[in-house]
């Protein structure tokens, strides 16, 4: 599933700065006292609200209500340019341990570096943990452990494939249930990757036997350069309790737009029955239209 994204660029770390003091020092102080008071009065409620939210998130984290903590602290940790360093540190812990969020060590690593870049009570610990995780990530660590990246969670989905046969996607796992067996595979997103909804494509084939085959397609936009997006695609088949990768493409499409364009992926790629009665995938448009038969992986 994480068959993606070479060539991501590592950009400079965000230099975090508490929003309140930044605004007060850069905007309010040079102004006249009357206007200053008005601005402070306008700022205080939002600052107080943010602090209250943070306090709620902190209390939830300590109380072990990690899902609630993540809901509150996640946005504070990911605030562009002025992330809350405490929220970033706590969220990094949650992503690393998979509590309240899907486990994602790359995201955890990025959040530690984010927390380390802003002054706060955990600056030193965050710097150490971030660097350690980056080192442990191997040669691609610097790419994936990117504090400037935006992170999106895997879209949740569940498909019933037949009697006592289903596949479920959570934020960090693929769970296949088949005849009482349950098989779990770790998965997750990478930085600056925007996953699209997962597609389930059942195909009733005639060859080599008359049966239904179960295919899953996963599309995601990812940053191939700092100024462009590429659309990645993977095709997998569910065979019994197994999740079997079939093929993929890192760049079905590209876009230089600031945000990835919306599109109907069904017009781009299809999984269908060929004239010979076998399963095949077809890339119908884009830079490199093509098709191929999907080999049979079930019992001979």
């Amino acid at each position: 599933m994480i068959d993606v994204v070479p060539g991501q660029c590592l950009r400079a770390q965000t230099s975090g700065f508490p929003a309140v003091w930044y605004l007060l020092s850069r905007v309010v102080v040079p102004m006249r006292s009357g206007l200053c008071c008005v601005l402070i009065a306008l700022l205080i409620p939002s600052v107080a609200a943010a602090q209250n939210a943070r306090e709620d998130g902190i209390r939830a984290a300590v109380a072990g209500d990690y899902a609630r903590a993540a809901r509150i602290l996640g946005p504070l940790a990911e605030t562009p340019k002025t992330p809350d360093s405490v929220a970033a540190f706590l969220m990094a812990m949650l992503y690393e341990s998979g509590r309240g969020v899907g486990r994602n060590p790359f995201h955890a690593c990025a959040l530690y570096l984010k927390a380390a870049a802003a002054p706060g009570p955990f600056t030193e610990q965050a710097a150490y943990l971030g660097q350690l995780m980056r080192d442990e990530s191997g040669p691609r660590g610097a790419e994936f452990c990117n504090p400037d990246a935006r992170w999106h969670t895997m879209p949740a989905a569940r498909f019933d494939l037949g009697a006592d046969h289903s596949i479920e996607f959570t934020s960090d796992q693929i769970v296949i249930r088949y005849r009482g067996e349950e098989k779990r595979t770790m998965t997750g997103t990478l930085p600056d990757m925007m996953p699209l909804p997962i597609r389930y494509s059942p195909v009733d084939v005639l060859q080599p036997a008359r049966t239904r085959r179960h295919f899953v397609q996963w599309f995601a936009w990812w940053r191939d350069t700092p100024t462009s997006w590429a659309l990645g695609w993977t095709l997998s088949e569910v065979v019994g309790a197994e999740y079997v990768p079939v093929t993929g493409d890192k760049g079905l499409l590209s876009s230089a737009a600031t945000e990835p364009p919306s599109l109907d992926v069904a017009t781009l790629v299809r999984v269908r029955v060929s004239d010979a009665g076998e399963a095949e995938w077809v890339i119908a448009s884009g830079a490199n239209p093509r098709s191929a038969v999907i080999p049979w992986r079930g019992p001979k």
Partner: protein, 274 residues
């Protein structure tokens, strides 16, 4: 009448505040940390984190971060390491998992010997009051005691005797060295070291006495006894004299002897020469 109303109003204002103070929690400590009030954070978290009965891995982790960099407490990496170790006991929670990584970082930075002291501190606790001491017994002959055990230096060689004398929550009294002359049997005095340690168990405190003799380059265990039990926390070292409970002396025959003086349990025993 007016004064009484003011008093009632004042009490009504004070009561919730004192109640809130009394119920401060780990979350309050983390909130204080987050707003940069490190003094308040340390004040709240220290008693929770360092309590011998605590298994609050979040408080232990947070307090360790303060000791590690010296925020509002003196920088003390050994104590930080010990608190990380205690927090890491709960590896299920996010604080415990990270505590384990940070503890290993300190281990890598400071080495095996230092880390052994970290473990000892984590196991014994933070209020042990143990004071490392070296007793000079003769020229070139000494015994040094630390929390992790003793080391004898004799004729230019050092020999370690690792071993802790206290469990979790132990509180030590100052170690005592006694040299006893044996009235003509030998021109050299015999050297004894006594360790007195209060040990909590099942809601009670027991005072344990360990008697060792330093024989050239060897450390010989002579006796160990539980001298006292009490239900309340033990008195400070200044306010307690263990010599009222046990003593060492030379008998008229020239032998070394220990005596337990605890009322109802009095007994004595000659210390055989090794």
């Amino acid at each position: 009448m007016r004064r009484a109303r003011v008093l009632v109003a004042a009490l009504a204002m004070v009561a919730p505040v004192t109640e809130a103070v009394a119920q401060t929690t780990t979350a309050d400590g983390l909130v204080a940390l987050a707003r940069g009030d490190y003094d308040a954070a340390a004040r709240i978290l220290k008693p929770i984190a360092e309590s011998e009965t605590s298994s609050d891995s979040a408080a232990q982790f947070l307090m360790a971060t303060l000791y590690e960099v010296g925020r509002s407490v003196p920088m003390d990496r050994l104590r930080a390491c010990a608190l990380y170790q205690r927090a890491a006991m709960n590896s299920e929670g996010p604080f415990g998992a990270q505590a384990d990584r940070l503890m290993r970082a300190l281990f890598r930075a400071h080495g095996v010997e230092w880390f052994a002291n970290c473990q000892a501190l984590a196991n014994i606790g933070f209020d042990h009051q143990f004071e490392p001491v070296t007793f000079d017994l003769a020229p070139g002959h000494s015994v040094a005691w630390e929390l992790m055990g003793a080391t004898i230096t004799y004729q230019g060689q050092t020999k370690p005797f690792p071993g802790r004398l206290g469990g979790r929550g132990a509180v030590f009294l100052p170690l005592q060295h006694t040299a006893l002359r044996s009235n003509g049997v030998s021109p050299f005095p015999r050297h004894f070291v006594e360790v007195f340690v209060w040990q909590p168990a099942n809601g009670q405190w027991g005072l344990f006495w360990h008697l060792f003799e330093v024989v050239r380059d060897d450390l010989v265990t002579v006796a160990q006894e539980e001298l006292l039990k009490r239900s309340s926390r033990p008195p400070s070292a200044d306010a307690f004299e263990p010599r009222t409970l046990v003593r060492l002396r030379t008998t008229d025959a020239g032998d070394a002897e220990w005596q337990i003086l605890v009322p109802g349990r009095e007994r004595r025993e000659t210390i055989k020469r090794r």
